[in-house]
Structure formats: C-alpha cells, structure tokens
C-alpha cells in the first residue's frame, strides 16, 4: 500500500512537470497551428536560470520569478523572430524550431558551461511528511500543488475572461475570430508568452526534483510533452493535464516494476491513441 502511494506521488509529480511543458505546447498548436519544437528549450532555460538565480540570491522565490521572466523573454523573441515568418507552413516551422532548439541548447553551454549543474532543494521544502507508513516527500507534493494552482488559474482565465473566450474560440475557428474584429496575432503572442512562461516554470521546478540540470534536458522532456499533447488532443488544455498524469503514473509504475519498458510504455500509449482515437482523448471529432 505504502509503495503504491509513493509510486502514485512520484508519478503525479513527474506528470505535473510534464503538464507544465505540454500545456503551453498544446495551446500554441491548437490556437496558432504552430509546431514548436523549441518549446523544450524554454524548459531547459527555465531550469538553468532558476538554479543560477537561486545560487546568487539564496531565494527560491526569486529563482522561480526569474525563470518565468526568462521564459517570457524567450517567448517574445521566439514568436516575433522565429515563428512569425513561418506561420502556416508546418515544414518550415519544424525545421526552424528544431534548429532553434539546438541553438537554445548550445547557448546554455555558452552561458553556464558544458557540464551539468547541481540544483539544491530549498530548505523549507526538503525532507518529508510521514502519514502512518506513507512517506510524502515535501518537494513532490509542492510540485503537484503548484501545477494544480497553475492549471486552475489558466482554466479560470479560459472560462471567465474575454481573452480566455477568444483563445477558446480561436482554437475552434481562427478565421471567424478575425472576422469578428479581433486581432488574432496579438492573441497568438499572448498565448505564446503564457506557454513559454509555463514551460520555464516547469524547468525551474524540475531542477531541485532531479538534483541536476543539463543542457539536453529540454529535448528529453519535450518528447514526453509531445506524447502528452497527442494523447490529450492537440489544443485541449484539460486533455494535456489528464494525459500528463497518465504518462507520469505509467512511467512511475513501469520504472519500478519493469524498468526497461518505462519509456516504451509512453510510446505505446501514444500509438494506441493514434490508432483508435487519432484526434486525442479530449477532442471530439469534426
């Protein structure tokens, strides 16, 4: 029982980190029809800037805010300079964002050196709580809570604000949104920035979780995020949460019981979804 609960907590924590990365990706694809392979780069930059800022300031809060700011700045640059010229052309998008992903990865090595950096867990989040025989590692619970808060805030924004309504409408019919007098390009920029900031937050949160950060981590997690986007349905925000939890839990259980299959199980899940429900679990057909 204790083992199961620990595996569930581990799986949820990993799933929530992947969700923070995948949520932006799915909104960007759903609204902007943009395949952004550089998205994992924002995650890695968020992780490195958080570790660096934490070592400088000693404040975890400053590190998180700094990472989010890094994500926002990268998001603005990427949308304006990299994505804008290739709207509507998927092949060019894949090539240029993959290329930019490599640039982001290599530039981490230029700024922080080629070696991985150790990441410390803040004092107040180290250790664990014991509930009977169950040990709850504080930092993992913290990740789950932060990701759920982010999910709730974005959901409220999507449901209750005008910009949220426009984003939801834009995912369904971009042309009609423009025909109603709305400058969709401004909405694109806003969504891109929010998505980039969420990815950077995910990177900042993963640093103490994994203990080290390294330049290639963005690409590794981006693969998981793409699997989540496909399973949840491209453009479905709630779908990305559900799929991220599914991927996190299956990875956690498989890593314990059949470690050799822990990555393969996610690929298998994606393959099953693509065969039986290619539009994803949370997107209705048509």
């Amino acid at each position: 029982m204790e083992l199961m609960l620990n595996l569930i907590i581990n799986g949820l924590a990993t799933g929530m980190l992947v969700f923070l990365l995948a949520a932006g990706l799915t909104l960007i694809f759903g609204l902007m029809d943009v395949l952004n392979f550089a998205h994992g780069g924002f995650f890695a930059w968020g992780a490195f800037s958080a570790v660096w800022l934490y070592s400088l300031s000693g404040s975890f809060f400053v590190a998180i805010i700094g990472a989010i700011a890094t994500g926002i700045m990268l998001g603005i640059f990427t949308e304006k300079i990299i994505i804008k010229p290739v709207y509507g052309n998927h092949i060019q998008q894949i090539l240029i964002t993959l290329g930019f992903m490599l640039v982001l990865t290599e530039f981490i090595k230029v700024v922080w050196g080629p070696n991985q950096m150790a990441a410390k867990t803040p004092e107040f989040l180290t250790g664990s709580w014991e509930l009977g025989n169950v040990i709850l590692i504080k930092y993992r619970v913290f990740i789950i809570i932060i990701a759920l808060i982010v999910y709730s805030m974005v959901q409220i924004a999507l449901k209750k604000t005008k910009i949220g309504l426009i984003v939801r409408a834009g995912v369904m019919d971009k042309e009609m949104v423009q025909a109603l007098g709305i400058n969709i390009k401004k909405v694109f920029m806003f969504v891109f920035i929010v998505g980039s900031a969420m990815a950077a937050l995910g990177g900042a949160l993963i640093a103490p979780y994994s203990g080290v950060v390294y330049a290639e981590m963005g690409m590794e997690y981006a693969i998981l995020a793409f699997i989540v986007v496909v399973i949840g349905g491209m453009g479905s925000f709630s779908g990305s949460l559900f799929a991220a939890i599914l991927v996190g839990l299956s990875g956690s259980f498989m890593a314990y019981f059949i470690p050799d299959l822990s990555l393969a199980v996610n690929m298998l899940l994606m393959a099953i979804v693509l065969i039986f429900r290619p539009q994803g679990l949370f997107i209705s057909r048509g």
């Binding site: 042309e175 423009q178 025909a179 109603l180 007098g181 400058n183």
Partner: protein, 235 residues
C-alpha cells in the same frame, strides 16, 4: 442614394486557381444586394475577398469611399462590416452566450439594448442561451451567426447562403429576420434560394465563372425567364 461599397475588377487566386477574374459591383446604402450564380461561380470567394480572408491579387474595394483591399480581416470587420459565413462559423464548444460575448466589442448601454432587441428577434437564442453552439439545430446556428454579426451595429452585413440546408419553416424565420435587419443595415446576400433572394433583394448581380456578367433591379429579374434559365438554371 449613397454607395456603401464599390468593388472594381476584383481578381482573386486560391492557390494556383484563378477564382475571381473580374468582379465589379456597387452596393447602395440601405439596400439588399444579392449575388446570384451557379455553384462554384465565385460568390463565396467574393465575400471572403471583401473580408480579406482570401485577399485579392488585383482590383479595388471601397467601403464608404475608403480603399480596404489589403487590410487585415480584423481591421475590415472593425470598420463596421459583419460577416455570416456559409458554414455559419459557430464556436461549437462555446455556449450561445459565449459566442455573443466573443463578438461583443463594447458592453455599453447601446450594445446591451441591441442584444435585447436581437434576442426578441431570435427567441430561440434566449431559450438556449447556456447551450453549446455545436448542439443547436441548423436554423438556430444560422440565427446565432446572423445575430453575432449584427450585434455591433455594423453598417454592412455580408451573409452567405443563409437558407442552405434549412427546413422551409426555418428559411421563413431567417428571411423574416433579415427583412427586419434590412430596415437598419445594408446587406450583401449570397443566396441560391431564388424565392428568398427575390423577396429580400433590391439589386442583383449575376456572377458566372468568376466574373459579374449581368446586373439590374430584382423586380426585373423576376420577370426575365430567359436570364434566370441561362445563368441560374431556373425558370
């Protein structure tokens, strides 16, 4: 009578296809101008070109004497042009209320009054206010699409085949609502249903193979069996 919209020698490509090869017409303020023609003649592309959704490669479009070709779609819409597309463009996962809110540019007293008036005109929308747009019937979707385009006091409405796929009773309802709106707004109507077009329209233009080939007052077309047979396939 003032000219609301003037289109001169409009040429539009979609991909490699030269769809519009010379569309010219004028829309008089306060009138309903009907674009007629067979399927694939270029009527829908004409409306989409005016809205900037399929930007023209050549030709001029003047809206209230201001050249609008080349402007982005949202700017054209904000000049006071409402668009009801052929597929209605309903945001299917948004409720009727949310569909209207996306369209609402201001929330002032005038717009609220206008919304009230629209809901009186389309009582079904009030009845299904909290229902997702995708669950409405074809006629209700059409009403929502028209209501959304009319909400912001637009001076010109482009309405594409409002009777398409609707039951006769719904066609009548939609026709009545357009007749009501005609009292305050100028309309360009694309319509295959000749009964509806001839009831609502003042002026007509026939489009054939991407060109305007004939125009006149609707009253004359009603009597001209030869013209109807030649270009519209009806008699």
């Amino acid at each position: 009578m003032d000219t609301m919209l003037k289109v001169e020698n409009l040429q539009t490509y979609i991909g490699q296809y030269h769809i519009l090869q010379g569309i010219s017409f004028q829309v008089k303020k306060g009138e309903v101008t009907v674009l007629l023609g067979r399927n694939g003649a270029g009527k829908t592309t004409t409306l989409r070109s005016i809205m900037g959704l399929n930007p023209p490669s050549q030709g001029k479009i003047y809206y209230q004497n201001v050249s609008i070709e080349g402007l982005p779609t949202y700017k054209i819409a904000n000049l006071g042009i409402g668009y009801v597309p052929e597929d209605q463009g309903i945001f299917k996962d948004l409720t009727v209320e949310e569909n209207m809110k996306v369209a609402m540019k201001k929330q002032d007293a005038e717009t609220i009054d206008r919304l009230e008036w629209i809901l009186q005109l389309f009582p079904d929308l009030k009845k299904f206010w909290k229902k997702p747009g995708g669950l409405l019937s074809g006629g209700q979707k059409q009403m929502l699409s028209i209501a959304r385009a009319y909400l912001n006091n637009n001076q010109l409405l482009l309405i594409d085949e409002p009777s398409k796929g609707l039951a006769p009773i719904m066609v009548e309802k939609v026709m009545d609502s357009i007749l009501e709106m005609k009292k305050e707004t100028t309309i360009i109507l694309v319509e295959q249903n000749f009964m509806m077009a001839s009831t609502i329209g003042n002026q007509f233009y026939i489009i054939d193979d991407g060109r305007t080939v004939y125009s006149g007052r609707m009253s004359t077309l009603k009597e001209d069996e030869q013209l109807k047979r030649k270009y519209l396939g009806i008699a």
